[in-house]
Amino acid sequence: MTERAITPTVANPPVAFTQDEIGWTPWLPPLGEDDLTERHLKGLVEAARAKSPYFRLLVRDPEVLEARTKTDKDIFYNTRSGLPRAERELAATAASRFNGCIFCASVHSRFATHHSKRGEDVQRLLDEGVDADLGERWNAIVAASVALTATPPVFTEDHIARLAAAGLDELEIADVIHGAAFFNWANRLMLSLGEPTPAS
């Protein structure tokens, strides 16, 4: 028998970019929490992720999820050197804003605000879009992230020169590239496998 996609009925779905803690509901059935084997748990990386329908859906391919999760964590959380966390989250938010992922933008704009204490600037990126004036350093990060997110990418040496002029060294520029690039992975999964639900 052919499997069926889920068409959820979401009342008051989020239709604008927000820093609120909104939710997400899948269009394909996740594995049940009770059905997870050792192989699945390894793929989830953190046991707590078994609570998330998103990760229990992705864990249908556990080896890919495991490598993806570890890539994600290192790009964003490994801040012993390189770009401050706030600006990695800014790159993620800019990519998500440009691609149109309301859910991803909500999560990572909250992180950007938390780590930068610049909630009003972050909100202007959400409200006005990727051309909002956030000061030159942030403008350079947003512009580079957006150029890399375009399909095909339109990222040039001018973006690199602008980041360097704003004070970023090569490792920090590589961190911007990875942060924006990773959200071209995450946005596509979040947007195509389910939809946002309102804050509770």
Partner: protein, 205 residues
Amino acid sequence: MTLASPDVIDLLSGISPGSALDRIRAQRPETREQAQKSYLALFQPEEFGDVSLTERHAVASFVAGLHRQPDVFDFYVNTLEESVAGRWLVELLKAEIGAGRATGPYGSYPDGPLSTENVAGPIYKVSAASREALGPKLTAAFEHAHLLVFRLREANPQALQVLLDAGWTTSGIVTLSQLVSFVAFQIRVIAGLSLLATATKRAAA
């Protein structure tokens, strides 16, 4: 014993051992290792499950071609060229990539304040000539990949039902979605790092 696969991002970004970019990547060893492991999990898995080797490389080649990244396209299409099961796909892929060319992201938001930001753009369908050769499963995969590459904000459950009706399983769709999305990531890391490598070399000269 088999030789370890080369690091694909290094290979396609032109990053050679000992170069400035090699040293920068070496400061993120986990990112480097796990990006490569993601590649291996998608293209050299222990079990191919519901998505064949040919299907994986065909979709990756299509995604790279839509991004107009000839080196990445050549990398993925090479596996097809070297296999009896995949060789016939190469010319078809080039034709479909030509037909699917666009500039994104585009598409409509859910009705509401963002509707003013809606951007119109083509909805790609596999050509009549190619549909028959590709069969229903790869035809649906190409059309879905195009949606994911360019108009991701328009994705909807009906698009997944089309895949299910064409013979994809739920787990196969997860793998397909990861594959398209991973290649979109990989292409951007390569595009970014190769330019950074060039800029770094120029600064050092």
